[in-house]
C-alpha cells in the first residue's frame, strides 16, 4: 500500500460573514481542495468533518449540495482540535487500507453565535463560577510574568509579530498591523490580556485537505505527514505549574519521536496562539527554547518571518481568527502551501519540515482537554 499524501488543499476567507453559513464556507474550501487535488467529489470515499459549534450533522449539511454518492461522513467534535483530530482519524483509515482517498475539512461560523468568548459548557464546575478561556490564559500569564520577569510589552509583541505576518495573508480579511502601544492600549479583557492579545472572537472560516494513497493528480507537490498525534488532558486537582503547557509538551514529544526529528529540524511552526501568552508557553513546550526564555526567543527575531524558525507565518489565530473546527485544518493548509512554495508574500525560504499544534480546552481539571500535533514535509 502506498503512503497517504496530502494532494490538495483549500481554504475560505477567514472573517466576519454574518450573511453566509458554515455550510457555504465549507463548500468553498472543499471545492478548492478537490480542484487542487485534481479529483472530483465522486472520487472521495470518505469525509472527515471537524466542527465544534455547528450542532448536529455538520459534515452532511456541508456536503449535501455537492453531489456526493452517499459515502461515509465522520463528524468530529474535539473543541479547537476538531479539525486536527479529523485529520488524525483520516490518516488511520488510509493507513489501515480502509479507504484510498478521503477529504478532511473543518469549519465554524461564529457570526451566528452573538459574539463574546467561545461558549463553554455551563454545567462545568469552573465555567459556572465565571471561567472563560481568556481568563484561564490571563491567569497563566499573571503567573508567567511573576515567575520569569517577563513584561506586558513582551506579551504584546507576540500580537505585533503575528499581525505583521497576517497582513501578508490574503485570507486574513480583517487583520491590521498594530504597534505594541496600540496592542497595550486596546480594551482590557482579562488582565493582563488586552483585546488585541486575544484572537478575534467572531470569525467564520473553513479549510479542507485531500489525502490519498493513489498517484497524485494534484497541481502542487504532495505533502507527507511525518507525525500525527492526538492527546487528551490528564486529570489533575493538585498544584501543577500553570506556566508549563503539559499536554503540548507531551504531544510534541510523541510527535518528534514518531517523525524521528527534533525541534532543531523544523523550518516553521503554526501554533495555537489564541492568546499572546499561549505562543510563549508553546515555544517552551515545543522545545524551541528552555523554560522562561520564550520572550527572549521572540525578541531575537527567530520566530518572525525571515528568522530561524518562523512561528505562525499565516498570522496565526491572532491575525486570522479562530473558527475552532477550521483552525487545525487551516494550519495544515498553511504548512502545505509553504512546503509547496506557494505561500505568496509570506513564503519561507526553502522550508523542509513544518509542525502544527492545536489544543482544545474548556473543562475543569485538565491543562487542556485535547491537543493535536502534526509534522509535515514535502514528498
Amino acid at each position: 500500500m502506498n503512503e497517504p499524501l496530502i494532494t490538495g488543499v483549500g481554504i475560505s476567507d477567514f472573517g466576519r460573514f454574518p450573511d453566509l453559513t458554515e455550510e457555504a464556507l465549507a463548500q468553498v474550501a472543499i471545492i478548492d481542495a478537490l480542484a487542487d487535488a485534481g479529483i472530483a467529489v465522486k472520487d472521495v470515499q470518505a469525509f472527515y468533518c471537524g466542527n465544534a459549534l455547528g450542532g448536529h450533522l455538520p459534515g452532511q449539511r456541508a456536503l449535501r449540495d455537492l453531489g456526493t454518492g452517499g459515502e461515509a461522513v465522520y463528524n468530529i467534535d474535539n473543541a479547537c482540535s476538531s479539525g486536527a483530530t479529523a485529520l488524525n482519524l483520516a490518516l488511520s483509515a488510509l493507513r489501515a487500507g480502509q479507504y484510498e482517498t478521503v477529504l478532511v475539512f473543518g469549519m465554524d461560523h461564529l457570526s451566528g453565535l452573538g459574539g463574546g468568548a467561545l461558549p463553554m459548557n455551563q454545567r462545568d464546575w469552573n465555567n459556572r463560577r465565571g471561567m472563560i478561556m481568556p481568563a484561564l490564559y490571563a491567569m497563566r500569564a499573571t503567573r508567567y510574568l511573576h515567575d520569569f520577569g517577563v513584561t506586558r510589552e513582551d506579551l504584546a509583541d507576540v500580537s505585533v509579530k503575528n499581525r505583521r505576518h497576517g497582513v501578508l495573508n490574503p485570507i486574513a480579511t480583517f487583520c491590521k498591523e498594530m504597534t505594541r502601544e496600540e496592542v497595550l492600549a486596546s480594551r482590557m479583557v482579562a488582565d493582563p490580556l488586552t483585546l488585541l492579545q486575544c484572537c478575534p472572537a467572531v470569525v467564520d472560516g473553513a479549510a479542507a485537505v485531500v489525502l490519498t494513497t493513489r498517484p497524485s493528480a494534484g497541481a502542487a507537490r504532495p505533502v507527507r505527514v511525518r507525525a500525527s498525534i492526538v492527546q487528551s488532558g490528564v486529570f489533575e486537582v493538585n498544584q501543577t505549574d500553570m506556566t508549563e503547557a503539559e499536554i503540548t509538551r507531551r504531544a510534541a514529544h510523541l510527535a518528534y519521536e514518531q517523525a524521528g526529528v527534533g525541534p532543531q529540524d523544523l523550518s516553521m511552526i503554526e501554533l495555537h496562539d489564541a492568546f499572546t501568552i499561549s505562543e510563549l508557553l508553546y515555544y517552551e513546550a515545543l522545545g524551541l527554547c528552555r523554560r522562561g526564555e520564550a520572550a527572549s526567543l521572540l525578541a531575537s527575531g527567530a520566530t518572525t518571518l525571515g528568522g530561524r524558525i518562523p512561528v505562525n507565518p499565516s498570522g496565526g489565530l491572532l491575525a486570522k481568527g479562530h473558527p475552532p473546527g477550521a483552525t487545525g485544518v487551516a494550519q495544515v493548509v498553511e504548512l502545505c502551501e509553504q512546503l509547496q512554495g506557494r505561500a505568496g508574500k509570506r513564503q519561507i525560504a526553502d522550508p523542509r519540515l513544518g509542525l502544527c499544534q492545536v489544543t482544545g480546552g474548556g473543562i475543569w481539571g485538565v491543562d487542556h482537554a485535547a491537543c493535536s500535533i502534526h509534522i509535515l514535509e514535502a514528498a
Binding site: 463574546g116 464546575w125 469552573n126 459556572r128 463560577r129 465565571g130 471561567m131 472563560i132 481568556p134 481568563a135 490571563a138 491567569m139 497563566r140 500569564a141 499573571t142 503567573r143 511573576h146 480594551r187 482590557m188 479583557v189 482579562a190 488582565d191 493582563p192 490580556l193 486537582v237 493538585n238 498544584q239 501543577t240 500553570m242 475543569w364
Partner: protein, 123 residues
Amino acid sequence: MRISKYGHSHMANDGQQTILCGALMSQGEIRFPPPEFLIGDETATPVPLSPIGQLYTYTTVHPGKAPAYSLAMVDFDHGLRIFGRLLLGEAPPALGSNVRVVPFTLSEGEIDFAFEPVEEDAA
C-alpha cells in the same frame, strides 16, 4: 448499575468561618471539588480544608457592559489548588499571599464561596 450521589456539600462552617471540604476517596486521594457521583465500590468522606489558602494566580475579567469580576487559583493543604471568585479591594494582591474563604452567591442564586485577601496583620 451501582451509582450513588456523593451527598455532601463542598462547603461548611466550622462555627467561626466558612471552610471548603474536599473528599477523601477510597484510593486515598483527596479531591476538590468532591465527586458528584460515586460509581461501583467507590467511597468518599468529607475532609475539611484550612480556611486560609495561598494565592497562586488571578485575573480580573472585564466583560464589556457587565461589571468586572476577579478569579483566582488558590493553593490549599493536601496539595489542592482550588478555583473560585476573588473579591478584591483597592490594592492588587501579591502572588503567594494569604486569602480566606468567604460565602458568595452565584448568579443563579446558589450559595457558594469566594476568596478574599487576608490583611497581613490579621493573618
